[in-house]
């Protein structure tokens, strides 16, 4: 059965989504257990796939039994397996968490909600494991359509945010589709590995069409991942969406898009083309520096807890885009490591924000007042996530940032290193402000006093289904930190095929 594991990663959430849509109409209570079971199975399948990849190298799974360029294949190497595990684990944790929220926020439509949730997860998993450039577009649209709906099911402002996201998302996806078309007109193939081979054998690297294809695909993916000048859709979307929606989308959607960027740059176009023939590293790294600083400064200006966290996502996207374009093996290792650790630490702080919102009904950061006394366990989980975002060892965030900084030093991009350190400093300021409010119960200036009093007296420790995912995420962050050597060796196995510059360019 293990050789069929790749398809099961996707098949469980996808088929269960349909079953939930069908059964959930009559038996609402069944939706949640079904979701959990399917995601649990998906986690098992992806772990088994990862084990196989680590042991035997990349898997090529032929769908429909057709050999690759003619049919569609799954191409699963170390990178896809790691990201697939991340996606399925994050989805499982969010699903456990979602029980109370979904019943409270979308009472009539819980079956549709879970169905869309599972479809989003299967779309993201499909993006991660596919080896076909056009199939990636289809999965991109599955994930995108569900995200629009999951956001639009929120409050009044969420609808407008969702509409903007729909417009931006469609432009991004269409650019990607057009880019694939430009690749196809020159290579005549859609399979990623096949495209790469034809590009190399036919010597197409000087063709303007390929250049435009590269630009279109990169810009399309940048729009989808909210890279700085193209980020305008993101903050409102994630801040006003239903809690569970932002919990699943904030960690996953942007990270999976970064995966797509890494995949396109390394596997389809090849580092040789992206980094040596084009030679744009400096421009893109500077853009990333601007993104990091803009995201961090934007976060400083926010009083709304979730909105502050969304700006941190923009900064983190800057880390990873910059890290890839450092064109250095350590830097790219850091980028891939950061995809994983950032998914978990974003999940951690968003779960915390969701718990605070559910318990106090308040959005702004002063709602945290006195939380250490009222919900000690929740705060422990939050502390781990915050330390990871700041980059304090032994959490995962420290190690991924360490590799990014190391890459920046190796390739001589000091501006990137400085931006990263400034951003970490700002993160520290932000989170210690929160911790201060939560610990000392610092009274805010007048105008905020409607938040304490009756509201807070009732606040107690979060329920088990909310606490378990938060604490597991915190535990995972520490475990990733402790086992960082093993993780890095998997990533470096994957990167060894590309002959990247290791120290000095």
């Amino acid at each position: 059965m293990t050789e069929q594991a790749p398809i099961f990663i996707l098949l469980f959430p996808f088929l269960t989504a349909v079953i939930v849509a069908l059964v959930g109409l009559r038996h609402k209570s069944l939706s949640w257990p079904l979701t959990l079971v399917s995601l649990g199975a998906s986690v098992c399948a992806s772990l088994s796939t990862l084990a196989q990849v680590v042991e035997h190298g990349p898997i090529r799974y032929k769908l429909g039994g057709w050999s690759p360029p003619f049919g569609i294949e799954f191409h699963i190497d170390g990178l896809s397996a790691l990201v697939a595990v991340t996606v399925s684990v994050v989805a499982l944790l969010t699903a456990i968490y979602s029980k109370d929220n979904v019943d409270a926020e979308t009472p009539d439509k819980s079956s549709q909600y879970y169905s869309l949730f599972l479809l989003l997860v299967s779309g993201l998993l499909g993006i991660v494991i596919t080896g076909d450039a056009f199939n990636l577009y289809v999965m991109l649209e599955v994930a995108a359509l569900t995200s629009y709906a999951l956001i639009a099911m929120g409050n009044k402002r969420a609808s407008l945010a969702a509409f903007k996201y729909l417009i931006m998302g469609t432009i991004g996806a269409s650019f990607y589709l057009l880019g694939v078309g430009y690749l196809y007109i020159k290579t005549g193939s859609l399979n990623m590995l096949d495209i790469r081979e034809i590009l190399e054998t036919a010597g197409l690297f000087n063709s303007p069409t390929i250049l435009v294809a590269f630009i279109l695909i990169t810009v399309g993916v940048w729009i989808k991942m909210a890279f700085f000048p193209l980020h305008s859709w993101l903050p409102n979307c994630y801040a006003f969406a239903p809690t569970t929606s932002s919990n699943i989308m904030a960690p996953l959607v942007t990270k999976v898009m970064i995966y797509v960027m890494v995949r396109m740059v390394l596997t389809v176009f090849g580092p040789n083309y992206a980094f040596e023939i084009l030679d744009w590293e400096n421009i893109v790294v500077w853009l990333a520096v601007i993104a990091i600083l803009a995201g961090s400064i934007g976060a400083l200006a926010q009083k709304d807890l979730r909105k502050m966290l969304t700006f941190l996502i923009i900064a983190e996207v800057g880390y990873m885009v910059g890290g890839l374009w450092l064109a250095d093996e350590t830097g790219i290792t850091g980028t891939i490591f950061h995809i994983i650790s950032d998914a978990f630490m974003t999940l951690c702080v968003f779960l915390f924000a969701g718990i605070v919102f559910a318990k106090t009904g308040a959005r702004d950061i002063y709602a945290l007042e006195g939380m250490f006394k009222k919900m000690p366990l929740t705060m422990v989980g939050f502390l781990v996530g915050a330390f990871s975002l700041i980059g304090i060892p032994p959490t995962a965030g420290f190690f991924s940032k360490w590799y990014l900084v190391q890459g920046g030093i190796n390739s001589g991009n000091w501006e990137y290193v400085v931006a990263l350190l400034i951003s970490s400093l700002i993160n520290a300021v932000l989170f210690f402000r929160l911790i201060e409010i939560a610990y000392f119960g610092k009274k805010p200036a007048e105008g905020h006093d409607h938040h304490h009093g009756d509201d807070h007296a009732k606040v107690s420790e979060a329920s088990f289904t909310m606490l378990l995912p938060l604490l597991s995420t915190a535990a995972i962050l520490i475990v990733i930190g402790l086992y960082n050597k093993e993780l890095v060796s998997v990533i470096q196995d994957f990167l060894s095929q590309f002959n990247l510059a290791t120290s000095i360019r």
């Binding site: 056009f134 289809v138 649209e141 995108a144 359509l145 629009y148 709906a149 639009a152 009044k156 402002r157 609808s159 407008l160 969702a162 509409f163 729909l166 417009i167 469609t170 432009i171 269409s174 589709l177 057009l178 078309g181 196809y184 007109i185 859609l190 034809i198 054998t201 036919a202 010597g203």
Partner: protein
């Protein structure tokens, strides 16, 4: 007339860019939400036009085999003596296909693809018997398949966009983006 025709030929690629830019402009600049969605429709259709243009070949027909070309179209186990004939034709088709394979692979290897193009065409014409299927006689079916998917994705996105528009109208009483933003700003 010749000049006009040559314009008409490259016109296709230009028109798709023009249509796409019209759609993109509407997506970014229009204020009315329904207008934005109409722009989105135009934008996506323009991309489909581009793909279909890739698959077009001069003098080629639709990618469906006619009855006399598709001897195996109707598989009928009852006809014993027809089977032999089928096998012969099948054989010929396979041979032809193998050659096309070989030619295509040569092509992929050769750096100077354009120089051999003419020879290739002549070669494959000579090599095949009249019953074989020539790749250059049919439009490229792959892009058609891809574009069926793209059309379906387009209508799905349009539907979701319209649903969000209706929800916004229920909440704000307007489908003009600037008015909605104004309401959010003053409402706070």
């Amino acid at each position: 007339m010749e000049l006009l025709q040559s314009i008409a030929d490259s016109f296709n690629y230009w028109i798709y860019i023009i249509l796409m830019m019209i759609g993109l402009y509407a997506l970014v600049a229009k204020n009315n939400l329904v207008k934005k969605l109409i722009g989105m429709s135009i934008f996506q259709t323009a991309i489909i036009l581009f793909y279909v243009s890739i698959g077009y070949k001069d003098g080629a027909t639709i990618p469906i085999l006619y009855e006399h070309q598709a001897h195996h179209g109707h598989h009928d186990a009852g006809h014993g003596d027809a089977e032999d004939a089928h096998h012969d034709v099948e054989h010929a088709v396979e041979e032809a296909a193998k050659e096309i394979h070989a030619v295509a692979e040569d092509h992929a290897d050769g750096h100077d693809a354009h120089a051999d193009d003419h020879d290739t065409l002549v070669d494959s014409h000579d090599a095949h018997t009249s019953s074989a299927i020539h790749a250059e006689d049919f439009a490229n079916p792959l892009v058609h398949v891809l574009m069926l998917t793209a059309i379906v994705v387009g209508v799905a996105t349009l539907g979701v966009g319209l649903a969000i528009t209706q929800k916004l109208y229920g909440e704000f009483g307007s489908i003009e983006e600037s008015e909605i933003i104004e309401q959010i700003r003053t409402g706070k």
